[in-house]
Amino acid sequence: MNKVLLMGQANVGKSVLFNHLAGAAATVSNYPGTTVDFDKGHMMIEGERVEVVDVPGAFSLDPKDRAEEVAVRMLEEEKGATVVCVIDSSKVERGLYLALELIEKGYPVMIDLNMADVAKDVNIKVDTKRLEDILGVPVVTTVATRGEGLKELVSRMKEAKPVETGKIIEKVEAS
């Protein structure tokens, strides 16, 4: 693993996460679309230097605006990268759509259910164990603004691996 892309919808906290991971100072705001270009930084995982890229928010891999175009282009240029799909825990469905697209494209994916505090406020619970079981990729919970869960996120990045979509469908149908 030498490169990690942070992907997800707009305003799920990718840049906050990025700033924590890469010790960087990307601009962070509370409205969708703050990051319209990518930012790059580095972090150390078990003594290994890994590049982290903060990709602009994308709803899907079917680009609708310039920021999404940048996101999709980034992804195509970085075929071997590990993708951390950042999801707003209070809107899991929307994030899962992008996660599935990424899995279908064959990227090693891991899922970060961010904004867990917001989900708690609106009384939404996500069964991360079950989600991990179905998708077959690591799933962690974070509150990036407060720095919670980042250690687990980083330590499990190396477990990210490509998964066959068929396997996921089988799992869902088996239950």
């Binding site: 305003n11 705001s29 409205y31 679309g33 609708k64 939404i124 996921i168 869902v172 239950s175």
Partner: protein, 412 residues
């Protein structure tokens, strides 16, 4: 092997996974949700928006005033400029003129503000960015950061959505517009979140032509405070009227899109301060060299006498079309480098109030600063760049001409 699903299949799969893993508990609306509703309901939201914008503007005005009028006018006017005048008096005339400026400022019985009257690179050239503009942009960036981080900006977008649709833009266009009030550069970049090429083009053209940046606003606040309301009103009329026109004539679509409004959040002060600092630092790196260069160019033109030649050459055009005296030439010439510098160079004492007003409007409209222009080259294609330039030339003549006619009719 890649195995592609259709969009429907994928959503179906998402639904089934979500059903397995997501548990939505009974949900009682919180105070935050209720606040979110009230601030986008026009009856309560518009008065609240007025209060927010009032706070935005007053904070900015008082902050800039505290530093500029409270301290920096005196630091430069009473200490720095006379000090330089004395220390560098031995320099050859041309060097003195470029570095320090007009000798008349140091003569007995000089009346006026040496901060602006001197005009040299080390006097006025330093006073404008560090004495005035720095404090203005610092305050604007700070307030903008608070609006961004609390999540209020997208609510403002919802409120203004209906009006914005009339000019082919989405309510979200208010975000690049407000950000441009700090600096046009991040404002133009923020326009990337708009959906279609057409919307981006309209947005960028309007930002470049009608939205003054923090540096300009700071200079206006210092030099023509009583006029700012009228300048903003005129520019806002231009923004909406010509946004509407561009939307009618430029091909392409401007579809409705759903806006994702984030929940309100308590801002993190560390993030706000960091963001304010980063943007201010970026501003200093971009602006200061151009202001110094602009001062140098103007003073070289003065020292060689070229300025007089150019001014008399332009006199006819300026007087007949815009009704502005030839002494405004230097200001208009450096306007393309930096607008704040251009406003600082306006010969305010030598013009009527109405001429000052017209000049400020023309300067706002007529060319985006170099940094913004460089960004336009990157964001737009050639056709759009030419259209933007054509648009701004047209706007200069429309606004200059119409304001001149109004002035003649009103006898100003």
């Amino acid at each position: 092997m890649e195995r592609a699903l259709t969009v429907d299949q994928r959503w179906d799969l998402v639904d089934r996974i979500a059903k397995e893993t997501v548990e939505v508990g009974a949900y009682k609306p919180t105070l935050k949700d209720a606040l979110a509703g009230i601030t986008v309901n026009p009856w309560t939201g518009i008065p609240f928006a007025i209060a927010v914008l009032y706070g935005f503007w007053t904070f900015f005005g008082e902050f800039a005033g505290l530093f500029t009028d409270g301290f920096f006018v005196r630091i430069f006017g009473t200490h720095w400029i006379p000090f330089l005048g004395e220390k560098l008096a031995g320099l050859p005339d041309w060097a003195f003129t470029i570095l320090v400026g007009d000798k008349a400022v140091f003569a007995e019985g000089f009346v006026g503000d040496p901060c602006f009257a001197a005009g040299g690179v080390l006097t006025t050239g330093l006073f404008m960015p560090f004495g005035i503009v720095l404090w203005a942009v610092l305050a604007l960036f700070f307030v903008l950061a608070i609006l961004e981080d609390t999540g209020y900006l997208p609510r403002l977008a919802v409120l203004i959505d209906t009006v914005m649709h009339k000019i082919g833009l989405h309510g979200f266009a208010i975000v690049p517009t407000l950000i441009s009030l700090g600096c046009n550069v991040p404002g133009v970049t923020a326009a990337r979140t708009l959906e279609t090429r057409k919307q981006r083009f309209i947005m960028i053209a309007l930002l470049g032509v009608f939205v003054p940046c923090g540096a300009q606003i700071g200079m206006m606040e210092e030099l023509v405070p009583g006029m700012i309301g009228w300048v903003f009103l005129t520019l806002a009329i231009g923004y909406f009227v010509f946004g509407w026109v561009l939307n009618k004539i430029w091909p392409g679509e401007s579809p409705e899109i759903l806006m994702d409004v984030p929940p309100y959040r308590a801002p993190q002060w560390s993030n706000i301060l960091r963001k304010t600092w980063m943007r201010t630092r970026h501003f200093l790196f971009v602006a200061v060299p151009f202001v110094l260069l602009g001062c140098a160019i103007v003073m070289v033109l003065y020292a060689t006498g070229a300025m007089d030649a150019i001014a008399s050459g332009l006199e006819g055009l300026l007087a007949s079309v815009f009704g502005v005296p030839a002494s405004a030439t230097p200001s208009l010439m450096v306007g393309f480098l930096r607008k704040d510098l251009a406003i600082g160079l306006l010969p305010i004492g030598a013009m009527t109030n109405y001429q000052v007003f017209k000049s400020v409007i023309l300067l706002s409209i007529y060319f985006p600063c170099l940094a913004t222009f460089a960004l336009l080259l990157r964001e737009l294609n050639w056709k759009e760049i030419l259209a933007t330039l054509g648009f701004l030339v047209a706007m200069v003549f429309v606004f200059g001409g119409v304001l001149n006619l109004i002035g003649m009719a009103g006898g100003w």
